[in-house]
């Protein structure tokens, strides 16, 4: 989870990733940020993220992102 937070803060520093659960709904992450995150997650966790995964439920919080990463690793 720490590695994930580090990636998020590098790409979009203006957010509190520990508590925020509306990263997409409130427009904190735009499509550029989302794809940058995807690119970093694919490299860091050796996973493949498809367009089907790009839904608000997977990107609204760091916790949701982490759950997606774990699911795709499994």
């Amino acid at each position: 989870m720490d590695e994930l937070i580090e990636i998020l803060e590098d790409i979009q520093p203006d957010a509190d990733y520990e508590t925020c659960t509306t990263l997409i709904d409130d427009g904190i992450l735009d499509s550029f940020a989302i794809l940058s995150i995807v690119s970093e997650l694919e490299d860091a966790f050796d996973i493949r993220i498809t367009p089907a995964e790009i839904i608000p439920e997977n990107f609204n919080s760091a916790k949701a992102l982490y759950a997606m990463v774990q699911r795709l690793q499994g």
Binding site: S31, F32, S36, V38, T50, A52
Partner: protein, 495 residues
């Protein structure tokens, strides 16, 4: 049957009245019948195309759900193949003739009304089924209504099955509040269309169609085009959303104060929102996440460093998407330049995002710095207006020539239009009508931007106040609407 006609208003009134009088379980069938009657009234020759798209996508959805890998490419090929054939064949022939000196004759092709909108809606549904975001619709007639719902079929908003279906097929009780909300929205839409757009169109058409003789009026022309396009398209969408509201159907919003955008990216989050989100979900993400783009990204990271390398494929995907947006606007090179212009600005902004952030930090410009916020809005407005030159001009050369003349031979006169073409016979009155319309729209937009929903705030007022506002809007249409309102087609209905 144009939206701006007595026939259409009567058609809508009969549809709405009957909708609440018949048994509720038949309401969606009623909508389907009225939708097809409306489409047939546009010209019976168009019906084949929408029936084809409906049948192909309905079957394609069921096929995709069965897990077949061929279902999506085959259905997309058929859907987009039909769109490309009717919309771009002559453009390709013209370019081939120009390039190779051939004399291939252009074809006489029908351009079915609203074909882009229902094709996009159909293909979005197909991909949602493929990605298991929604289940395929079993009932072909219900699916037919999803693609043909009459208020939205000609100019959107582009609906998503996951959000639209339930509200389209649900049984609804009559609700006077909802009817009034819908009527207010329709009247507001007509105000934007008839008072602002149709009057501004006189200036736009005069200046752009006579640019070689009326040199230097480009800035007046393009500002009027800003007003016309927004008033026309968002006004049309207000009418669509108002009718849907009366029928208890929730459609997605298509505009959110676009001229208050702080960047071109932000502008596309506020202008034609449903096209932007469609492009993002069904084109931008699939291109960006494709295997070949992944390989390109890895190459960029190795050769350009982590940050630039990460942003580069996203920028390339972005330019491709806006190229498609440009082509979607029409088969002509000035539209392609319009798309590329937007794509390049957004792509370069994305590439430099980190540098901007650091520069702002160093200069002490915070998120809430007021002057910078206003500067960003004005800068974006100028950039958007430059893009409108390409959008409205008949050719790339004309756009550049008008831009050059706007600066080198600047000219301004409200009398540039022919007095005889003005509904009042006076250029001053017409110009003032546009200014008043824009001022009302500006105040409305400021309130909405501050989180006040004008429509909902109005609904909380006593009934006499609501009727008074509605009456005022309708009266303004009659008093300061432009003369050719009965011919008033909508710009985006040609897509």
């Amino acid at each position: 049957m144009s939206f701006v006609s007595v026939e259409f208003l009567a058609f809508t009134a009969i549809c709405t009245a009957g909708y609440y009088l018949i048994p509720k379980r038949a309401q969606w069938v009623w909508l389907l019948i009225f939708s097809y009657v409306y489409y047939l009234a546009q010209g019976p020759q168009y019906i084949f195309f929408i029936l084809f798209a409906t049948a192909i996508t309905y079957l394609g959805g069921l096929w995709a759900e069965s897990g077949s890998k061929a279902a999506v490419p085959v259905t997309l090929l058929l859907d987009f193949g039909m769109l490309a054939a009717v919309k771009y064949t002559n453009f390709m022939i013209g370019n081939l003739n120009g390039l190779f000196g051939t004399e291939i004759r252009e074809m006489r092709l029908l351009l079915p009304l609203g074909i882009s909108f229902y094709t996009f809606q159909a293909t979005g549904y197909l991909l949602d089924v493929h990605w298991k975001r929604v289940r395929a619709e079993r009932n072909p007639f219900r699916f037919a209504l999803f693609l043909s719902f009459f208020p939205q079929i000609l100019q959107g908003p582009i609906g998503r099955y996951g959000r639209l279906a339930d509200s389209l097929y649900a049984e609804k009780e009559f609700d006077m509040e909802r009817i009034l909300r819908g009527l207010y929205r329709i009247a507001w839409g007509f105000f934007k269309k008839i008072v602002i757009a149709d009057n501004a169109a006189l200036y736009v058409n005069t200046i752009f169609d006579n640019y070689a003789t009326l040199r230097g009026y480009g800035i007046l022309g393009v500002l009027m085009y800003s007003a016309q396009l927004y008033g026309d398209f968002s006004g049309g969408i207000d009418v669509v959303l108002g009718i849907a509201e009366m029928l208890g159907v929730s459609l997605d919003e298509n505009f959110r104060q676009p001229y208050f955008a702080v960047s071109i990216t932000d502008f596309w989050h506020r202008w034609h929102i449903t096209l932007g989100t469609w492009m993002k979900d069904y084109l931008f993400y699939p291109i960006s996440l494709s295997r070949w783009m992944g390989r390109f990204g890895k190459w960029c990271k190795t050769h350009m460093g982590k940050s630039t390398g990460r942003a580069m494929p996203i920028c390339v995907a972005n330019v491709i998407v806006f190229l498609v947006v440009g082509v979607w606007h029409g088969p002509a090179w000035h539209n392609i330049v319009y798309g590329l212009y937007n794509g390049l600005i957004i792509g370069i902004s994305g590439l430099l995002a980190k540098n901007y952030r650091e520069a702002r930090k160093r200069l002490g410009i915070g998120k809430d710095t007021r002057w910078f916020y206003i500067f960003q809005i004005l800068r974006t407005f100028v950039l958007v207006n430059i893009s409108w030159y390409f959008d409205r001009a008949g050719s790339v050369g004309q756009a550049f020539m008008m831009m050059k003349d706007s600066i080198l031979h600047f000219a301004f006169s409200i009398n540039v239009v022919d007095a005889g073409a003005c509904w009042s016979g006076s250029q001053t009155v017409t110009f003032c009508a546009i200014l008043i319309g824009c001022a009302v729209l500006f105040v409305h937009s400021v309130m909405e931007e501050r989180g006040v929903s004008v429509g909902e705030a109005l609904c909380r007022k006593p009934l006499p106040v609501r009727f008074a506002v509605l009456l005022l809007l309708v009266l303004s249409l009659v008093l300061i609407g432009s003369e050719p309102l009965s011919q008033g087609g909508f710009i985006y209905a040609n897509f």
